[in-house]
Amino acid sequence: MVRRSVLAALVLVALALLTVSFRSPTSGALHDVQGYGATALRPFQVAAERVARPFRDVYGYFDGLSKAKSENARLRREVREWQAVASQSVANERQVAELKRLLHFEEGPTFPQDYRSVNTTVISFPNGPFAQEVTIEAGSSSGIRFGTPVVTADGLIGHVTNVSPHTATVTLLTDPTSAVTARDVTAGVNGLIRHGQGSTLILDQVPKQLPIAKNDIVVTLGTIDKHYPDLYPRGIPIGTVQSVGISDTASYLSVQVTPFARFESLDAVAALVPKNRK
Protein backbone atom coordinates (compact mmCIF):
# COMPACT_ATOMS: atom_id res chain seq x y z
CA MET A 1 0.00 0.00 0.00
CA VAL A 2 2.78 2.43 0.98
CA ARG A 3 4.72 1.49 -2.13
CA ARG A 4 1.81 2.19 -4.45
CA SER A 5 1.04 5.47 -2.66
CA VAL A 6 4.63 6.63 -3.09
CA LEU A 7 4.60 5.62 -6.76
CA ALA A 8 1.27 7.33 -7.38
CA ALA A 9 2.43 10.52 -5.64
CA LEU A 10 5.68 10.64 -7.63
CA VAL A 11 3.91 9.97 -10.92
CA LEU A 12 1.39 12.71 -10.17
CA VAL A 13 4.14 15.21 -9.30
CA ALA A 14 6.04 14.26 -12.47
CA LEU A 15 2.90 14.68 -14.56
CA ALA A 16 2.19 18.05 -12.96
CA LEU A 17 5.74 19.24 -13.66
CA LEU A 18 5.49 17.87 -17.20
CA THR A 19 2.24 19.70 -17.84
CA VAL A 20 3.43 23.05 -16.50
CA SER A 21 6.82 22.76 -18.20
CA PHE A 22 5.30 21.69 -21.52
CA ARG A 23 2.76 24.51 -21.55
CA SER A 24 5.35 27.15 -20.73
CA PRO A 25 8.79 25.83 -21.71
CA THR A 26 10.72 29.13 -21.83
CA SER A 27 9.13 31.35 -19.19
CA GLY A 28 7.37 31.31 -15.84
CA ALA A 29 8.28 30.48 -12.24
CA LEU A 30 9.04 26.82 -12.94
CA HIS A 31 11.38 27.78 -15.78
CA ASP A 32 13.17 30.21 -13.45
CA VAL A 33 13.59 27.49 -10.82
CA GLN A 34 14.88 25.15 -13.52
CA GLY A 35 17.32 27.85 -14.58
CA TYR A 36 18.65 28.20 -11.03
CA GLY A 37 18.94 24.43 -10.83
CA ALA A 38 20.84 24.30 -14.11
CA THR A 39 23.17 27.02 -12.83
CA ALA A 40 23.78 25.04 -9.64
CA LEU A 41 24.53 21.86 -11.63
CA ARG A 42 26.81 23.63 -14.11
CA PRO A 43 30.05 23.33 -12.07
CA PHE A 44 29.55 19.57 -11.79
CA GLN A 45 28.88 19.24 -15.52
CA VAL A 46 31.92 21.36 -16.35
CA ALA A 47 34.09 19.31 -14.00
CA ALA A 48 32.90 16.04 -15.56
CA GLU A 49 33.42 17.40 -19.05
CA ARG A 50 36.97 18.51 -18.17
CA VAL A 51 37.83 15.16 -16.65
CA ALA A 52 36.59 13.43 -19.81
CA ARG A 53 38.28 15.83 -22.22
CA PRO A 54 41.78 14.24 -22.20
CA PHE A 55 40.24 10.85 -22.99
CA ARG A 56 38.17 12.37 -25.77
CA ASP A 57 41.25 14.11 -27.13
CA VAL A 58 43.24 10.86 -27.13
CA TYR A 59 40.41 9.06 -28.93
CA GLY A 60 40.09 11.93 -31.38
CA TYR A 61 43.85 11.90 -32.00
CA PHE A 62 44.01 8.22 -32.90
CA ASP A 63 40.74 8.39 -34.81
CA GLY A 64 42.19 11.30 -36.80
CA LEU A 65 45.45 9.44 -37.45
CA SER A 66 43.62 6.49 -38.95
CA LYS A 67 41.90 8.76 -41.47
CA ALA A 68 44.75 11.22 -41.99
CA LYS A 69 46.20 9.91 -45.24
CA SER A 70 43.02 9.81 -47.28
CA GLU A 71 41.82 13.04 -45.70
CA ASN A 72 45.09 14.76 -46.59
CA ALA A 73 44.74 13.85 -50.27
CA ARG A 74 41.15 15.04 -50.32
CA LEU A 75 42.00 18.29 -48.56
CA ARG A 76 44.86 19.04 -50.97
CA ARG A 77 42.48 18.63 -53.87
CA GLU A 78 39.90 20.83 -52.17
CA VAL A 79 42.49 23.52 -51.39
CA ARG A 80 43.33 23.83 -55.09
CA GLU A 81 39.64 24.19 -55.94
CA TRP A 82 39.00 26.66 -53.14
CA GLN A 83 41.97 28.81 -54.06
CA ALA A 84 40.41 29.46 -57.44
CA VAL A 85 37.04 30.19 -55.86
CA ALA A 86 38.59 32.45 -53.21
CA SER A 87 40.44 34.66 -55.67
CA GLN A 88 37.24 35.07 -57.68
CA SER A 89 35.30 35.82 -54.48
CA VAL A 90 37.69 38.56 -53.40
CA ALA A 91 37.21 40.33 -56.70
CA ASN A 92 33.42 39.88 -56.49
CA GLU A 93 33.30 41.09 -52.90
CA ARG A 94 35.06 44.33 -53.76
CA GLN A 95 32.74 44.87 -56.68
CA VAL A 96 29.63 44.17 -54.54
CA ALA A 97 30.80 46.57 -51.82
CA GLU A 98 31.37 49.27 -54.38
CA LEU A 99 27.97 48.69 -56.01
CA LYS A 100 26.21 48.73 -52.63
CA ARG A 101 27.85 52.03 -51.81
CA LEU A 102 26.83 53.53 -55.13
CA LEU A 103 23.25 52.26 -54.82
CA HIS A 104 22.94 53.26 -51.12
CA PHE A 105 21.86 49.66 -50.53
CA GLU A 106 19.88 49.14 -47.26
CA GLU A 107 20.29 45.84 -45.36
CA GLY A 108 20.11 44.41 -41.85
CA PRO A 109 23.01 43.14 -39.76
CA THR A 110 25.22 40.73 -41.67
CA PHE A 111 27.47 37.87 -40.61
CA PRO A 112 30.21 38.03 -39.40
CA GLN A 113 30.98 41.76 -39.22
CA ASP A 114 27.87 42.81 -37.22
CA TYR A 115 28.14 40.04 -34.64
CA ARG A 116 30.47 39.18 -31.82
CA SER A 117 30.93 35.57 -30.87
CA VAL A 118 30.40 34.30 -27.33
CA ASN A 119 32.78 31.34 -27.39
CA THR A 120 31.78 28.55 -25.06
CA THR A 121 31.75 24.81 -24.59
CA VAL A 122 29.07 22.16 -24.77
CA ILE A 123 28.38 20.78 -21.30
CA SER A 124 25.64 18.28 -22.06
CA PHE A 125 24.82 16.33 -25.17
CA PRO A 126 21.62 14.99 -26.77
CA ASN A 127 20.20 12.41 -24.40
CA GLY A 128 18.37 9.93 -26.60
CA PRO A 129 17.33 9.84 -30.25
CA PHE A 130 14.70 12.56 -29.95
CA ALA A 131 16.67 15.16 -28.01
CA GLN A 132 18.54 17.03 -30.72
CA GLU A 133 19.63 19.64 -28.20
CA VAL A 134 22.84 20.49 -26.42
CA THR A 135 23.48 22.69 -23.39
CA ILE A 136 26.19 25.34 -23.61
CA GLU A 137 28.10 26.99 -20.79
CA ALA A 138 26.93 30.55 -21.45
CA GLY A 139 23.55 32.17 -20.94
CA SER A 140 21.68 35.44 -20.68
CA SER A 141 24.49 37.01 -18.62
CA SER A 142 26.66 36.80 -21.77
CA GLY A 143 24.06 38.47 -23.97
CA ILE A 144 22.52 35.24 -25.26
CA ARG A 145 18.78 35.35 -25.89
CA PHE A 146 16.08 33.08 -27.27
CA GLY A 147 16.81 32.63 -30.97
CA THR A 148 20.52 33.44 -30.83
CA PRO A 149 22.28 31.52 -33.64
CA VAL A 150 25.05 29.13 -32.63
CA VAL A 151 27.91 28.08 -34.90
CA THR A 152 31.12 26.10 -34.87
CA ALA A 153 34.22 26.94 -36.87
CA ASP A 154 32.69 24.83 -39.66
CA GLY A 155 29.20 26.28 -39.86
CA LEU A 156 25.75 26.72 -38.37
CA ILE A 157 24.57 24.18 -35.79
CA GLY A 158 21.30 25.66 -34.50
CA HIS A 159 19.76 28.32 -32.34
CA VAL A 160 19.07 28.93 -28.67
CA THR A 161 15.66 27.77 -27.49
CA ASN A 162 15.99 28.06 -23.73
CA VAL A 163 18.14 30.35 -21.61
CA SER A 164 19.14 30.51 -17.98
CA PRO A 165 21.61 33.06 -16.59
CA HIS A 166 24.67 30.88 -17.15
CA THR A 167 23.58 28.08 -19.50
CA ALA A 168 21.48 27.83 -22.63
CA THR A 169 19.85 25.07 -24.66
CA VAL A 170 20.69 24.94 -28.34
CA THR A 171 18.26 23.13 -30.62
CA LEU A 172 20.31 21.62 -33.43
CA LEU A 173 19.55 21.79 -37.14
CA THR A 174 19.04 18.03 -36.98
CA ASP A 175 16.01 18.51 -34.72
CA PRO A 176 12.69 17.80 -36.49
CA THR A 177 11.32 21.18 -35.36
CA SER A 178 14.20 23.16 -36.89
CA ALA A 179 13.67 25.02 -40.14
CA VAL A 180 16.10 27.53 -41.57
CA THR A 181 15.59 29.64 -44.65
CA ALA A 182 18.66 28.99 -46.77
CA ARG A 183 20.23 29.89 -50.08
CA ASP A 184 22.23 27.84 -52.52
CA VAL A 185 24.76 30.54 -53.29
CA THR A 186 26.19 28.70 -56.27
CA ALA A 187 22.85 28.41 -58.05
CA GLY A 188 21.18 31.42 -56.45
CA VAL A 189 18.23 29.35 -55.24
CA ASN A 190 16.35 29.74 -51.95
CA GLY A 191 14.83 26.96 -49.88
CA LEU A 192 14.18 25.69 -46.39
CA ILE A 193 16.70 23.56 -44.50
CA ARG A 194 15.11 20.73 -42.50
CA HIS A 195 16.44 17.61 -40.84
CA GLY A 196 17.04 14.55 -42.98
CA GLN A 197 18.15 10.99 -42.39
CA GLY A 198 20.85 10.65 -39.72
CA SER A 199 22.96 13.79 -39.57
CA THR A 200 22.12 14.95 -43.10
CA LEU A 201 19.83 17.86 -43.93
CA ILE A 202 17.23 18.47 -46.63
CA LEU A 203 16.92 21.67 -48.66
CA ASP A 204 13.16 21.73 -49.05
CA GLN A 205 10.71 23.87 -51.03
CA VAL A 206 12.95 24.09 -54.10
CA PRO A 207 10.90 24.03 -57.33
CA LYS A 208 11.83 21.30 -59.81
CA GLN A 209 12.99 23.55 -62.62
CA LEU A 210 15.73 25.26 -60.59
CA PRO A 211 19.34 24.32 -61.37
CA ILE A 212 20.76 22.89 -58.14
CA ALA A 213 23.84 20.70 -58.50
CA LYS A 214 26.01 18.48 -56.32
CA ASN A 215 28.64 20.32 -54.22
CA ASP A 216 26.72 23.62 -54.32
CA ILE A 217 27.23 25.63 -51.13
CA VAL A 218 24.25 26.40 -48.92
CA VAL A 219 24.22 29.33 -46.46
CA THR A 220 21.59 31.00 -44.31
CA LEU A 221 19.33 33.31 -46.24
CA GLY A 222 18.94 35.80 -43.39
CA THR A 223 15.50 36.12 -41.90
CA ILE A 224 14.19 39.30 -40.38
CA ASP A 225 11.64 38.86 -37.64
CA LYS A 226 10.51 41.70 -35.43
CA HIS A 227 10.34 39.44 -32.37
CA TYR A 228 13.68 37.69 -32.91
CA PRO A 229 15.77 40.05 -34.99
CA ASP A 230 19.00 38.09 -34.54
CA LEU A 231 17.67 34.74 -35.79
CA TYR A 232 20.08 33.48 -38.46
CA PRO A 233 21.82 36.40 -40.12
CA ARG A 234 22.59 36.09 -43.80
CA GLY A 235 25.62 34.16 -44.94
CA ILE A 236 26.36 31.57 -42.24
CA PRO A 237 27.69 28.43 -43.98
CA ILE A 238 25.39 25.41 -43.55
CA GLY A 239 26.68 22.70 -45.88
CA THR A 240 27.12 21.40 -49.41
CA VAL A 241 24.62 19.69 -51.66
CA GLN A 242 25.22 15.96 -51.56
CA SER A 243 22.57 14.79 -54.01
CA VAL A 244 19.64 16.12 -55.99
CA GLY A 245 16.66 13.88 -56.60
CA ILE A 246 13.57 14.44 -58.72
CA SER A 247 10.36 12.45 -58.93
CA ASP A 248 7.14 12.81 -60.89
CA THR A 249 4.94 12.81 -57.81
CA ALA A 250 6.86 15.29 -55.62
CA SER A 251 6.24 19.01 -55.96
CA TYR A 252 9.81 19.94 -55.13
CA LEU A 253 13.33 18.72 -55.69
CA SER A 254 14.72 16.33 -53.13
CA VAL A 255 17.98 18.03 -52.19
CA GLN A 256 20.16 16.34 -49.59
CA VAL A 257 22.71 18.57 -47.86
CA THR A 258 25.77 17.44 -45.91
CA PRO A 259 26.31 19.92 -43.08
CA PHE A 260 29.71 21.52 -42.59
CA ALA A 261 29.36 21.19 -38.80
CA ARG A 262 30.01 17.77 -37.26
CA PHE A 263 26.99 17.30 -35.03
CA GLU A 264 28.28 14.06 -33.58
CA SER A 265 31.36 15.68 -32.03
CA LEU A 266 30.37 19.14 -30.87
CA ASP A 267 32.76 20.65 -28.36
CA ALA A 268 33.57 24.36 -28.67
CA VAL A 269 30.82 26.52 -30.17
CA ALA A 270 30.13 30.22 -30.59
CA ALA A 271 26.85 32.02 -30.00
CA LEU A 272 26.45 35.01 -32.32
CA VAL A 273 25.36 38.08 -30.37
CA PRO A 274 24.75 41.39 -32.16
CA LYS A 275 27.59 43.80 -31.48
CA ASN A 276 25.20 46.45 -30.16
CA ARG A 277 24.02 44.09 -27.36
CA LYS A 278 25.88 43.88 -24.03
Binding site: L10, A14, L18, F22, Q34, A48, P129, E133
Partner: protein, 174 residues
Amino acid sequence: MSALDGVKAAVLLFVAAILQVSIFADVHVLGGAPDILLVTLVAVALLRGSIVGALGGFFAGLLVDTATLGTLGLTALVLTIAGYWIGRYGETTGRDRGHAPFTSVAVVTVLYLFGVVIVHFVLGEYTAAGPVARGLLPEIAWNLILTAPVYALVRRLLRPLDRGDYATEVQLLG
Protein backbone atom coordinates in the same frame (compact mmCIF):
# COMPACT_ATOMS: atom_id res chain seq x y z
CA MET B 1 16.85 1.50 4.97
CA SER B 2 19.03 3.87 7.01
CA ALA B 3 19.44 7.57 6.33
CA LEU B 4 23.07 6.90 5.43
CA ASP B 5 21.94 4.47 2.74
CA GLY B 6 19.61 7.13 1.39
CA VAL B 7 22.45 9.63 1.19
CA LYS B 8 24.68 7.08 -0.53
CA ALA B 9 21.99 6.25 -3.08
CA ALA B 10 21.35 9.95 -3.74
CA VAL B 11 25.06 10.65 -4.24
CA LEU B 12 25.41 7.65 -6.56
CA LEU B 13 22.48 8.75 -8.69
CA PHE B 14 23.64 12.37 -8.69
CA VAL B 15 27.10 11.40 -9.96
CA ALA B 16 25.58 9.01 -12.52
CA ALA B 17 23.20 11.73 -13.80
CA ILE B 18 26.02 14.25 -14.20
CA LEU B 19 28.23 11.68 -15.96
CA GLN B 20 25.35 10.70 -18.23
CA VAL B 21 24.48 14.20 -19.47
CA SER B 22 28.09 15.43 -19.64
CA ILE B 23 29.99 12.42 -20.97
CA PHE B 24 28.09 9.25 -21.78
CA ALA B 25 25.33 10.83 -23.87
CA ASP B 26 28.06 11.83 -26.34
CA VAL B 27 29.62 8.37 -26.64
CA HIS B 28 28.06 6.92 -29.77
CA VAL B 29 29.43 3.64 -31.04
CA LEU B 30 27.53 1.57 -33.62
CA GLY B 31 24.49 3.78 -33.18
CA GLY B 32 24.06 3.39 -29.44
CA ALA B 33 25.15 5.27 -26.33
CA PRO B 34 25.62 3.78 -22.86
CA ASP B 35 23.20 4.90 -20.16
CA ILE B 36 25.10 4.77 -16.91
CA LEU B 37 22.26 6.48 -15.08
CA LEU B 38 19.81 3.74 -16.00
CA VAL B 39 22.30 1.03 -14.98
CA THR B 40 22.97 2.75 -11.64
CA LEU B 41 19.24 3.16 -11.02
CA VAL B 42 18.69 -0.53 -11.73
CA ALA B 43 21.44 -1.47 -9.25
CA VAL B 44 20.05 0.83 -6.53
CA ALA B 45 16.47 -0.36 -7.09
CA LEU B 46 17.47 -4.05 -7.04
CA LEU B 47 19.40 -3.61 -3.79
CA ARG B 48 16.98 -1.29 -1.99
CA GLY B 49 13.54 -2.08 -3.37
CA SER B 50 10.67 -0.36 -5.12
CA ILE B 51 10.21 2.74 -2.94
CA VAL B 52 13.89 3.71 -3.16
CA GLY B 53 13.81 2.77 -6.85
CA ALA B 54 10.87 5.07 -7.53
CA LEU B 55 12.28 7.93 -5.42
CA GLY B 56 15.70 7.47 -7.00
CA GLY B 57 14.23 7.44 -10.50
CA PHE B 58 12.28 10.61 -9.80
CA PHE B 59 15.31 12.38 -8.32
CA ALA B 60 17.66 11.30 -11.12
CA GLY B 61 15.13 12.18 -13.81
CA LEU B 62 14.64 15.66 -12.35
CA LEU B 63 18.42 16.17 -12.36
CA VAL B 64 18.64 15.20 -16.04
CA ASP B 65 15.69 17.40 -17.00
CA THR B 66 17.16 20.33 -15.05
CA ALA B 67 20.74 19.95 -16.31
CA THR B 68 19.64 19.75 -19.95
CA LEU B 69 16.92 22.44 -19.57
CA GLY B 70 14.55 19.86 -21.05
CA THR B 71 10.84 19.40 -20.41
CA LEU B 72 10.75 19.12 -16.63
CA GLY B 73 9.21 15.85 -15.44
CA LEU B 74 9.60 13.87 -18.68
CA THR B 75 12.66 11.83 -17.73
CA ALA B 76 11.52 11.84 -14.09
CA LEU B 77 8.23 10.19 -15.03
CA VAL B 78 9.82 7.39 -17.06
CA LEU B 79 12.64 6.73 -14.57
CA THR B 80 10.22 6.73 -11.62
CA ILE B 81 8.22 3.92 -13.20
CA ALA B 82 11.41 2.11 -14.26
CA GLY B 83 12.87 2.36 -10.74
CA TYR B 84 9.66 1.13 -9.13
CA TRP B 85 9.31 -1.79 -11.53
CA ILE B 86 12.91 -2.93 -11.07
CA GLY B 87 12.57 -2.50 -7.32
CA ARG B 88 9.54 -4.78 -7.28
CA TYR B 89 11.41 -7.35 -9.33
CA GLY B 90 14.30 -7.17 -6.85
CA GLU B 91 11.95 -7.57 -3.89
CA THR B 92 10.21 -10.60 -5.36
CA THR B 93 11.41 -12.97 -8.08
CA GLY B 94 14.74 -11.25 -8.72
CA ARG B 95 16.15 -11.52 -5.22
CA ASP B 96 19.36 -13.55 -4.84
CA ARG B 97 19.47 -14.26 -8.57
CA GLY B 98 22.89 -13.70 -10.14
CA HIS B 99 21.40 -12.81 -13.51
CA ALA B 100 18.90 -10.30 -12.07
CA PRO B 101 21.00 -7.15 -12.76
CA PHE B 102 21.67 -8.18 -16.36
CA THR B 103 18.07 -9.21 -17.06
CA SER B 104 16.81 -6.02 -15.45
CA VAL B 105 19.17 -3.78 -17.38
CA ALA B 106 18.32 -5.41 -20.73
CA VAL B 107 14.58 -5.23 -20.13
CA VAL B 108 14.52 -1.76 -18.60
CA THR B 109 16.67 -0.36 -21.44
CA VAL B 110 13.99 -1.44 -23.90
CA LEU B 111 11.14 -0.21 -21.70
CA TYR B 112 12.86 3.09 -20.96
CA LEU B 113 13.56 3.88 -24.63
CA PHE B 114 10.05 3.01 -25.75
CA GLY B 115 8.63 4.74 -22.65
CA VAL B 116 10.27 7.96 -23.82
CA VAL B 117 8.79 7.39 -27.30
CA ILE B 118 5.32 7.01 -25.77
CA VAL B 119 5.61 10.15 -23.63
CA HIS B 120 6.77 12.16 -26.65
CA PHE B 121 3.87 10.74 -28.64
CA VAL B 122 1.36 11.65 -25.93
CA LEU B 123 2.78 15.18 -25.79
CA GLY B 124 2.25 15.48 -29.54
CA GLU B 125 5.95 15.92 -30.23
CA TYR B 126 7.93 14.40 -33.09
CA THR B 127 8.51 10.74 -32.40
CA ALA B 128 9.53 7.70 -34.42
CA ALA B 129 10.29 4.20 -33.26
CA GLY B 130 12.79 3.66 -36.10
CA PRO B 131 15.80 5.45 -34.57
CA VAL B 132 15.07 3.80 -31.22
CA ALA B 133 14.85 0.35 -32.78
CA ARG B 134 18.10 0.87 -34.72
CA GLY B 135 20.01 1.95 -31.60
CA LEU B 136 18.42 -0.61 -29.33
CA LEU B 137 20.87 -3.52 -29.62
CA PRO B 138 24.04 -1.40 -29.29
CA GLU B 139 22.53 0.40 -26.30
CA ILE B 140 21.58 -2.85 -24.61
CA ALA B 141 25.10 -4.17 -25.27
CA TRP B 142 26.69 -1.02 -23.84
CA ASN B 143 24.48 -1.12 -20.76
CA LEU B 144 25.18 -4.80 -20.19
CA ILE B 145 28.92 -4.10 -20.36
CA LEU B 146 28.48 -1.43 -17.70
CA THR B 147 26.25 -3.58 -15.52
CA ALA B 148 28.89 -5.76 -13.83
CA PRO B 149 31.23 -2.97 -12.65
CA VAL B 150 28.42 -0.56 -11.75
CA TYR B 151 26.44 -3.20 -9.86
CA ALA B 152 29.58 -4.30 -8.00
CA LEU B 153 30.30 -0.70 -6.99
CA VAL B 154 26.74 -0.01 -5.88
CA ARG B 155 26.59 -3.32 -4.02
CA ARG B 156 29.80 -2.39 -2.22
CA LEU B 157 28.28 0.90 -1.08
CA LEU B 158 24.76 -0.41 -0.43
CA ARG B 159 25.05 -3.80 1.20
CA PRO B 160 22.20 -6.20 0.33
CA LEU B 161 19.38 -6.17 2.90
CA ASP B 162 18.38 -9.10 5.03
CA ARG B 163 15.44 -11.13 3.84
CA GLY B 164 13.26 -9.64 6.55
CA ASP B 165 13.77 -6.15 5.19
CA TYR B 166 12.22 -7.02 1.86
CA ALA B 167 8.55 -6.83 0.99
CA THR B 168 6.36 -9.35 2.71
CA GLU B 169 3.45 -9.32 0.30
CA VAL B 170 5.10 -11.85 -2.00
CA GLN B 171 6.45 -14.99 -0.34
CA LEU B 172 8.80 -17.28 -2.18
CA LEU B 173 8.75 -20.95 -1.41
CA GLY B 174 11.90 -22.82 -0.57
